[in-house]
Symmetry: C2
Subunit: 477 residues, 2 copies
Amino acid sequence: MTEDKLPTQSENFAEWYNQLVLKAELADYAPVRGCMVVRPYGWALWENMTAALDRRFKATGHVNAAFPLLIPMSFFEKEKTHVQGFSPELAVVTIGGGEKLEEPLVIRPTSETIIGTMYSKWIKSYRDLPVLINQWGSVVRWEMRTKLFLRTLEFYWQEGHTAHATPEEGKEETLRMLEVYADFAINDGAIPVIKGRKSQSEKFAGADNSYSIEAMMGDTKALQSGTSHDLGQNFAKAFDIQYLDKNNLLQYVWTTSWGLSTRFIGAVIMTHGDNQGLILPPKLAPYQIVIIPIYKNEEEKSLVMPVVSKVVQELQNFRIKVDNREEVTPGFKYNDWEMRGVPLRIEIGPRDVQKGTLAFARRDIPGKAGKTFVQQTQLEAQVAEALQTIQASLFERALAFRRAHTFDPQDYTELKSVLEKGWAFSWWCGDAECEAKVKDETKATTRCIPLEQEPGRGTCIVCGKPATEKVIFGRAY
Amino acid sequence: MTEDKLPTQSENFAEWYNQLVLKAELADYAPVRGCMVVRPYGWALWENMTAALDRRFKATGHVNAAFPLLIPMSFFEKEKTHVQGFSPELAVVTIGGGEKLEEPLVIRPTSETIIGTMYSKWIKSYRDLPVLINQWGSVVRWEMRTKLFLRTLEFYWQEGHTAHATPEEGKEETLRMLEVYADFAINDGAIPVIKGRKSQSEKFAGADNSYSIEAMMGDTKALQSGTSHDLGQNFAKAFDIQYLDKNNLLQYVWTTSWGLSTRFIGAVIMTHGDNQGLILPPKLAPYQIVIIPIYKNEEEKSLVMPVVSKVVQELQNFRIKVDNREEVTPGFKYNDWEMRGVPLRIEIGPRDVQKGTLAFARRDIPGKAGKTFVQQTQLEAQVAEALQTIQASLFERALAFRRAHTFDPQDYTELKSVLEKGWAFSWWCGDAECEAKVKDETKATTRCIPLEQEPGRGTCIVCGKPATEKVIFGRAY
């Protein structure tokens, strides 16, 4: 099914990615065009992501619930911009229980409409606000060009939907969740992301303002890795979500929505991976440690295996895999688990048993440079330290890479040239025409207007008109 | 939306249930016929159930994965019995991305067909077996008569799908997972269930044998609360799932599937609930404890609230809700949380502060009989003990109820009479005609042939022919 050896990243980054996803058994193509199967190794990675996010959602006062998969087609027509954005992508159920349905049902591409309908029923008074609900599930969007994890007909995600009494609270929530995503990406994913506002032409269909975290992949393309939308009163008005305020007056609520999906698995693969395969950040890796016992005969095996058991016992607070396959060599196992991205390998052979040592091999530093021999004492602390070091070093490396590939072009000609090799961080007047011109001529889009930028004034890199904000231009997935 | 007061169980059990589900905010009706919204309180209950089950699945060697929602219609036609069973219930997508699809896609009603297709690709050799995969998600079945949690168009569940080298291993797995379900129901749900084999007419479409756990609800009807299917080689042959054995010969695998759904929430409600509302078993309750501060003025409040904080601090290993609403009375709060089934209420008033006491009120014993005053010392141990007592007493009560409503009729006339008031545990010859006769004349079906029964021989309660097994007859949800 897959070639034995991956193409290198520089040969063909896209093929390196596609083959790696299959070879590492993260996912597979489903029999339905554009759909994927997330295999156990990929799903374990996603479970670690969902746990890390869910903990943050609950800590910020959110609760989970579940809304139906099927939405009446007419609901989409209530919010004009929303239906325009989503109608080309809908999967439509027209037959149920053997009969043609009176009204077609849509498989949710996102749930603002059905959740808005329920909120209009549940929210009566200011005492009911804020409503802070999240949902874990999958959605379907009829994409034409698909790629495992990055763009599939069905994908897995969470979608938060909140309702507030004031526009300030709505905006605060939108930015709070953007911050939660950035914190997760940086601290758990080891991915340096830039928080910013999307341009008006790139925002979510139905939002007043959209915000995103943007990450640079190993081929210098951008990946939008999480989004948070300030929906203003657009959905409140379309779905009649009103509450009685303290003065007994009817008011429309202010809503937000925010989502992060299995796309983030693609971000992890393309941010950290190398020519050998995956490199998974320790905080998210399904296995943080793989233990490879080394022996050539039964006598050596009887020396080595008790030490393996002892080590497993001491390291039970970590996610460990012991590879005790008999039919393959230790060298094969090294390659296999390097390809699958396990951050730390522990080798235990007969000489280690004699000397009371172990070999640690760091996945992020290949070969001898990443290998150290440690004493079999205070193992838990030594492993914790090694994993922290790997986690931090992955982040630093990705940050250095992004910095090395982010440019400050001096004019439009230079802009076009730097967009061949990375991002540009440039003054932009905010005009959609300038954005469109760059897109036409370079395929790069505005990724986001970073929230953290020095205040100042400049001239638009495209048209030369006055500009008050800088934007990131980049080619994107 | 709902009446202020619930009907009593004896007045109208069905309405008691329907209104309670809404009033306790476990679930709500969705705008699509037969679909439900699981509200945060209901979803928190389901999350506790999923965690309790997932832990057991992983402890028995299973891993999670995710297979697509959409299945080509033709896949269903590969297994003859399966398609007959499911085709009347399918929701069919005929339009995607604005165009009519060449082949209609079905929203999964269960995933044997799509998972079988992937297994035929993944499984090559005996070294790949067993495959032990579970999936958490939702499925859609076009039901005509629906009821929240018990039967809805879309419902949430897990479905395990395993493949094995031998029929013995397949059967062993089927029974292992039945045991896992029973252990979960008994120890976490406090629901005494009977493990048994389904009759041939009640088995899963495509299985060789189906097994279930059956529980008796408060109205004496049975609820099938989890099922495990021995699929033999039916799906292996239909989907060409073959492996090379140790002798390099191609063999078909043996598969199983097993599922437990949000139906189990219905089982918890109808097993333990009383006229006041829900009674949730402590191991699954979203809140195990509700704390009600009692004060009449600011001075009392300033005495009480520091003790509340101290108690919350000491009980942080439990799931606690502090109800500090100012707009309602303590009495209102008692009723509210009784209705919502919180197992233990702790009341803290100014007199308790003076005396260094607290009041514990057990949900399972209403009124003064369930109330005790305890010292504010060793609170964690006292609460743990109270919750264990409640958990155990719920189980004992449900078991006593089932025993009191399970009968051993002496002849067919008596069978018909006892089925008005509970279950019958009777000899049955195994003939589908006898089963059908009982169903026609009493609406009761065979629930299961309990695995644990004394060996012996008798005569069929219906036809009088020799019988080697006893079966449970009962009306069922």
